[in-house]
Symmetry: C2
Subunit: 225 residues, 2 copies
DNA sequence: TCAAAAGTGTTAGATTTACACCCATGA
DNA sequence: TCATGGGTGTAAATCTAACACTTTTGA
């Protein structure tokens, strides 16, 4: 309640993005080698600064857009990381966000231009500054979110098979699921619609493709998983 | 990953505290009327600025200490609130925290000196800026936390009766619980120790007092509730 | 003596888990 | 023809939820 602007000092504010993708049955994040000091050459999350006339959430969305060319991406704030010496150069407080994208939506050329790589979340190397801590918290929050809301679709193409969906849940939770029990639960969710389309890339027999129906989900929110 | 300090602008960083207390069977928070501009006279959370040489978490702990004289309080970050115009005066980004305190530990004189009041969470008035949003998020996160970890003790005296504990859970979750089922679950938790002490303030017959044993909890973490 | 809170077990229902075989197809 | 992933139901076990009466004591 006691606030006087003038006598207090300002800090730089940055945003850092943990960008999750799902590829070859594994949960991955996008990281790259830093191209500037401090920390040049170290593995790092992608981030950027918050501009004076820009909301923090907006800065995160813009940063992600600059990197991927994608808009309307599912993003959630992880929290503020504000240790005094977290940035070796200056006092920078960073607000971390995680994003869920469909890997196929992300142009490979663009990815390489930025020098980024998809790294298995189980094999993330030592990262710059406190970025490992951010990743840990992001994973925990994302896992928690997925357990309560159907956000997994954000990591898949619009049309997906039940096996893909199951593998996604397995990758996020780090444990195998029973196929029949999984499908039983999915069948109860009206907002996961079966289409008449068949995907034959994953098997000889082919598997039905499903899609997430946002309208049904919003109207009939017995959401739980 | 692309960071250049110089060309970016700095912001003021503040912390705001949602201080939860439990009194007369109701969950409450501490708020007061702002004593300075902008927003003078409006109901508001208690907050403060982050100093240049101070971690954000440290700033929150210090702010709480200045207000209550209490240290080692259970505090958790809620997140960053960073809309451009959230503060009517200047660009201030605020990191919100919630704290759980035992109302009896907070000196009444100190409370009045700061002009703060315990307000039922169900009756929180319109607050300054985005503080209502902070309170909403704090309640949600605290409720979530309580459902998975035994943090409720932080809101009670060291010794408490099972009825008090039950009322606390009921207040936080906003729903009544079955007394027998509740006590059954508590009995399974070895870290809630029954003492031989009796509290006679709540009833003529008297009720056994219990305490939370941190050591047992840490060693035997089948924690769930 | 009675009002008010403390304390205590059992049962039905719901949910969760474990588990195995046939199907369709392309190679 | 056979190897591969797709698809399907049932039964046991566990967990959850509902429910009512006796005890103690101060007023």
């Amino acid at each position: 309640m006691t606030k006087f602007y003038g006598e207090h000092s300002k800090v730089w504010l940055s945003v850092d993005c943990i960008i999750f993708g799902f590829e070859n049955g594994r949960l991955k994040i996008l990281i790259g080698k830093r191209k500037m000091d401090p920390g040049r050459g170290e593995w790092s999350l992608y981030g950027g600064f918050v501009a004076a006339d820009e909301g923090v959430d907006d800065a995160a969305a813009r940063t992600l857009y600059e990197l991927t060319g994608l808009r309307n991406v599912y993003m959630r704030q992880i929290g503020a990381f504000g240790k005094v010496d977290r940035d070796p150069g200056e006092r920078v407080v960073s607000i971390a966000y995680y994003a869920l994208i469909n890997v196929a939506d992300y142009d490979e050329t663009l990815r390489m231009e930025h020098g980024l790589e998809w790294i298995d979340v189980e094999k993330v190397p030592k990262l710059y500054s406190d970025h490992n801590e951010m990743v840990r918290k992001a994973r925990k929050m994302m896992q928690q979110k997925l357990a309560h809301e159907p956000v997994g679709f954000r990591l898949l193409p619009n049309l997906f098979t039940l096996t893909q969906l199951q593998k996604l849940y397995e990758a996020v939770n780090g444990e195998e699921l029973d196929k029949r029990n999984f499908r039983k639960r999915i069948k109860e969710m009206d907002f996961i619609e079966k289409t008449e389309l068949i995907d034959k890339t994953g098997s000889k027999r082919g598997a039905y493709l499903y899609r997430f129906n946002k309208r049904v989900y919003n109207e009939d929110p017995n959401f739980k998983l």
